[in-house]
Symmetry: C2
Amino acid sequence: MKPYTPDGHIETALTEKHAKELDIIELFFFAYRDFTADPDKILEMLNFGRAHHRVLYFVNRKPGMTVAELLEVLKITKQSLARVLKQLIDTGHIVQIQGPRDRRQRELYPTHQGRELALELAAPQSRRIANALEQLDPSSRAVIENFLKAMVDPAQWQQIDSLPKSG
Amino acid sequence: MKPYTPDGHIETALTEKHAKELDIIELFFFAYRDFTADPDKILEMLNFGRAHHRVLYFVNRKPGMTVAELLEVLKITKQSLARVLKQLIDTGHIVQIQGPRDRRQRELYPTHQGRELALELAAPQSRRIANALEQLDPSSRAVIENFLKAMVDPAQWQQIDSLPKSG
DNA sequence: AGATTATGTCAGTGTTGTTGACTTAATTTT
DNA sequence: AAAATTAAGTCAACAACACTGACATAATCT
């Protein structure tokens, strides 16, 4: 079955025979690649990167988030966050306010400018998703949401559930 | 409606009112974050990174791929690819063979060792997907595949379609 | 009072991406 | 056959974003 390869290389493709769910593995890669490319174009003009986007997104989704909470969500170190956060503060997209209960904490809030940018970055991603959903049965939305949530470690579900629903 | 904030910061969360599909935007982020974390642990032990994984994956999925094809799929520059590819060749995971039709081209093939590693890296991702699917109706698979493909730029569909189905 | 916690900061490092310029060998065009 | 183009490789410099380790400060908890 396997072709003759004197130097030991393999000419047969890796397929579902060898490993399950390859189609979804690569669809996930391609979908995420193009999904992130849209905001990346906007960010580039502002000299921001994907890291800025993630911070700005979650601060907008949950204003008042502390630095520690943000680190938990992004799964990065505080030194990594520091640079990006400092730039977002210096450019007037995010402000820090001393925690009222615990004054060691820094609550993070978007400014109007930060909210505007978050909306601008979300727009092409919303459009891409809405467009994909339009081509499917209306019941598909629930299936996709359930699938994506099931792809997340259950220990992390609380991070998803702590974000506001549709207020 | 908006709370009084003397310094102009925003305390109201960004919700579906302001932008559509936020739930799927963030589910996609969380799902991809955890999806890539599994192989990252294995790669770390070998002093490889996510870039090595991507190269190894596609060379296994389509043995004989040329360098130019790989660049198209990964959307990176040849200088970026060069370092990672060199390491995979030096460690005996991939071999290059001069193209038979066009001898300028270098066809990329996995070695047995490269195939083994690709399988090892795919395993936890397959498991995660299979586990997520198990919790859903059997018809969900098609919905998810259609959705993910619709999330990809149509101009790129040929990249997906050129990969072997289930040989 | 002492320990712990939340955050910030300094210094060094590694991976992965970028641009630009140049080389080599092979193919295609004129 | 000569000239232009193409596929791939390489050198150098650089930037974004992640890491570790160590230390500082202020506030809270024990």
